[in-house]
C-alpha cells in the first residue's frame, strides 16, 4: 500500500497540520517508508495472540476519588494569548 499526495493532504487536514506541496512529496515518501516497515512486520503470523494495548505489561493504577487540586486559573491564564471573564478566548468557532 502506498500513500499518494491526495491522502497526505487528507491526513494533514485531519491532524491540523499545514503542508506545502513540496513538503507533501517529502512526507509521502517518509510515510511510505514507515508503511514498508509495517508491511514487513505484518508478515509475522500473530494468530491467537492478544493485541497489546500498552508497551509494558502493567495495569492502570487507580486513584481514590478525592479533590486535591486547587484553583490555579490566574497562573494558567497568565500565559494564555487572550482571556476575558475567566474564559480562554479563541478564534470564533462557527456552528
Amino acid at each position: 500500500m502506498a500513500i499518494n499526495l491526495e491522502q497526505v493532504g487528507r491526513i494533514a487536514r485531519l491532524a491540523n497540520i499545514e503542508i506545502s506541496p513540496g513538503e507533501a512529496a517529502q512526507t509521502s515518501a517518509a510515510l511510505n517508508g514507515i508503511l514498508g516497515l509495517i508491511e514487513q512486520l505484518q508478515s509475522v503470523d500473530t494468530a491467537g495472540i492478544t493485541p497489546m494495548a500498552h508497551a509494558q505489561e502493567v495495569a492502570q493504577r487507580l486513584r481514590e476519588d478525592c479533590v486535591t487540586e486547587q484553583d490555579q486559573r490566574e497562573s494558567f491564564q497568565a500565559v494564555a494569548p487572550e482571556t476575558e471573564a475567566g474564559l480562554y478566548l479563541v478564534p470564533r468557532v462557527i456552528e
Binding site: 487536514r13 494495548a53 487507580l62 486559573r73 494558567f76 480562554y88
Partner: protein
C-alpha cells in the same frame, strides 16, 4: 409506501464522582469559569492522567444492573479531533475494549413490554464548554467540565418509534439515578442523548442510511426531534432523494434538524490505545465488592410494591419512579401503620401535587414521611376528618408544625361528641321548616342540604358519619 423507523440511542451520563476522570480537580457544576480545570484538564505538557477508581466502580455497577458482561480488562483509547473545548486534541475514551458489553433493559409502552439491547457502555471524559456569545468576534472557552467522567451507553438499533426511544431513555434515566451514579440533570447537561435515526421500507431487513441527531436535552425534545427527522427522511425518500449520513443538530425553537457543518470531515477519529494509560484491569473481588452495593432495582421494587402493599401497577410505577419517592413511601407506611393504599393516595395525590406546584424534589418536602404518618394516624383515630386533613397538610407544608400542633392551633379537631352534634342538627332542622316539609314529602335529595348546613355550622369539623346517622334519625317522618 409503508416505512419502518429504526432508532438507536447514545446516552452520555456524567458519573457523579467528586473529582475528574483523570485528575484530582473538582467536578462540581456551576463554578466560576476555569477554576476547576487543572494542569491535566487543560493539557499542559508533561502531565499524566491517572484514572478515578470510583468512576470504574460506577461503570461496573451500571453493567451489573443491566445484566451485562463486565470486561475484566478494558482499554483507554484516544479519539482524535480538533475543537477548542478539547485541549489535548483528543478525547480519552474506550474503543475496542469497553468496560461494559452486551446488556439489556426491558421497557414498557402502553402495557407492552419490549427488551432493548445495550451494545456497550464505555468510559470516557467530557469536553469543556464553548460559549458562542460575542467576545469581540471570538469564542469563550470554559474548561471546568473538561475531564468529567462520562459513561456512554450505546443501545442496539432496537427502537421503532420516537415513543419507544423516550421510554428507553426514561428507563436509563431512572436506573442511573437509582444506582446513584449520575444525578440525571438534563438542564445542566449531566444526562444527554444523541439519536441515530433511519427509515426503511417495511419488511426490508437492511438498515437505511442514518442521521445522528445531537443537542437534544429533554425527554420532550427527544420525541419531537426524532419525529421531525423521521418525517424529513420519508419526505426525502418519497421525493426520490437520498438520506446522507451526517450529524444534525436539533433546533428546539424552530422544531427542526439541520446539518452540523463542523463535523462533516471529522468522522475519521483515528483511534489508538492511549500510551499514557495502561489497560484498566479489574479483578473478581472488585466486581463482587460493587455487586454488594447494588440497590433493589426499579422493576423489582415495583413488583414488590404491588405484591406487598396491594397497589395498582400505576401507583407502584409512580411511587417507584425515583428511589427517594419509594423510600419516602415505605417510611410513611412503616410509621403510620396505616393502610398502604391510603398512604399511596396521599403520596401520589396531595404530596405530589404540592411538590409539582412548588417545583420541589421529594427530598425537599417540608412534610417528612414521619409527619405524613402522624397526620394519617389522626385521620385513623377520628381526630380529624379526611377533608380537613388536607387543610392540615397544607399548613404542615408551610412549615408550621406537625399534625397534632396544627390541628390544635387551628382548632381543626373533629367534633365527635354526639351531644354537641345533635345540638347543631336540632338547630338546623328548626331553622329549615320548609326544607323539612319537602323532605318528608319525598324530596330525598334535600338530605344533602341538611348535611351541608351542619358541616357549615361546624366549619367542617363534625364527624360526617355521625352527622349522617343523626340526620337520618331526626328527619324521618
Amino acid at each position: 409506501m409503508k416505512w419502518e423507523t429504526v432508532i438507536g440511542l447514545e446516552i452520555h451520563a456524567q458519573l457523579a464522582t467528586k473529582s475528574k476522570a483523570f485528575s484530582a480537580a473538582a467536578t462540581k457544576y456551576g463554578a466560576e469559569p476555569n477554576t476547576q480545570a487543572c494542569a491535566v484538564d487543560i493539557a499542559l505538557p508533561g502531565v499524566l492522567p491517572v484514572f478515578n477508581k470510583q468512576a470504574a466502580r460506577m461503570a461496573v455497577k451500571f453493567g451489573l444492573a443491566i445484566g451485562a458482561h463486565i470486561n475484566h480488562r478494558s482499554v483507554f483509547a484516544r479519539k482524535n479531533y480538533f475543537y477548542p473545548d478539547l485541549p489535548k486534541g483528543y478525547q480519552i475514551s474506550q474503543y475496542e475494549l469497553p468496560i461494559v458489553a452486551q446488556g439489556k433493559l426491558t421497557i414498557e409502552l402502553d402495557g407492552v413490554e419490549k427488551v432493548i439491547g445495550i451494545t456497550r457502555a464505555h468510559l470516557e471524559e467530557d469536553a469543556g464548554k464553548s460559549l458562542h456569545e460575542d467576545f469581540h468576534g471570538m469564542t469563550g472557552i470554559d474548561l471546568n467540565r473538561a475531564g468529567t467522567p462520562l459513561l456512554e451507553i450505546v443501545s442496539e438499533p432496537d427502537m421503532r418509534s420516537a415513543k419507544e426511544a423516550v421510554a428507553y431513555l426514561k428507563k436509563i434515566h431512572e436506573l442511573v439515578r437509582y444506582l446513584e451514579i449520575c444525578d440525571g440533570n438534563m438542564q445542566e447537561g449531566s444526562f444527554r442523548c444523541d439519536a441515530n435515526v433511519s427509515v426503511r421500507p417495511l419488511g426490508e431487513t437492511k438498515l437505511g442510511t442514518r442521521a445522528e441527531l445531537k443537542n437534544i436535552n429533554s425527554f420532550r425534545f427527544v420525541e419531537k426531534a426524532i419525529d421531525y427527522e423521521i418525517e424529513r427522511q420519508i419526505d426525502l425518500l418519497e421525493g426520490g432523494g437520498k438520506v446522507v449520513q451526517e450529524t444534525r443538530l436539533y433546533d428546539s425553537d424552530q422544531n427542526l434538524t439541520r446539518p452540523m457543518r463542523s463535523k462533516e470531515e471529522a468522522n475519521d477519529y483515528r483511534y489508538f490505545p492511549d500510551p499514557d494509560l495502561p489497560p484498566l484491569v479489574l479483578d473478581a473481588a472488585f466486581i463482587k465488592d460493587v455487586e454488594r452495593t447494588l440497590p433493589e432495582l426499579p422493576a423489582a421494587k415495583r413488583a414488590r410494591f404491588i405484591k406487598d402493599y396491594g397497589l395498582s401497577a400505576y401507583d407502584a410505577g409512580v411511587l417507584t419512579a425515583t428511589r427517594e419517592m419509594a423510600d419516602y413511601y415505605e417510611q410513611a407506611v412503616k410509621a403510620a401503620g396505616a393502610d398502604p393504599k391510603i398512604v399511596a393516595n396521599w403520596v401520589t395525590g396531595e404530596l405530589s401535587s404540592c411538590l409539582n406546584r412548588d417545583n420541589k424534589e421529594i427530598g425537599q418536602s417540608p412534610v417528612s414521611a414521619a409527619m405524613l404518618a402522624g397526620l394519617l394516624a389522626r385521620i385513623a383515630d377520628n381526630t380529624v376528618s379526611g377533608k380537613l386533613a388536607k387543610e392540615v397538610f397544607e399548613v404542615m407544608w408551610q412549615g408550621l408544625g406537625d399534625a397534632d400542633a396544627v390541628i390544635d392551633k387551628k382548632g381543626l379537631k373533629q367534633i365527635t361528641d354526639g351531644a354537641a352534634i345533635e345540638k347543631v342538627v336540632d338547630a338546623i332542622i328548626a331553622q329549615s321548616p320548609k326544607q323539612l316539609e319537602q323532605y318528608r314529602a319525598g324530596k330525598e335529595t334535600l338530605f344533602g342540604f341538611f348535611v351541608g348546613q351542619v358541616m357549615k355550622a361546624t366549619q367542617g369539623k363534625a364527624n360526617p358519619a355521625q352527622v349522617n346517622e343523626l340526620l337520618k334519625k331526626k328527619l324521618a317522618p
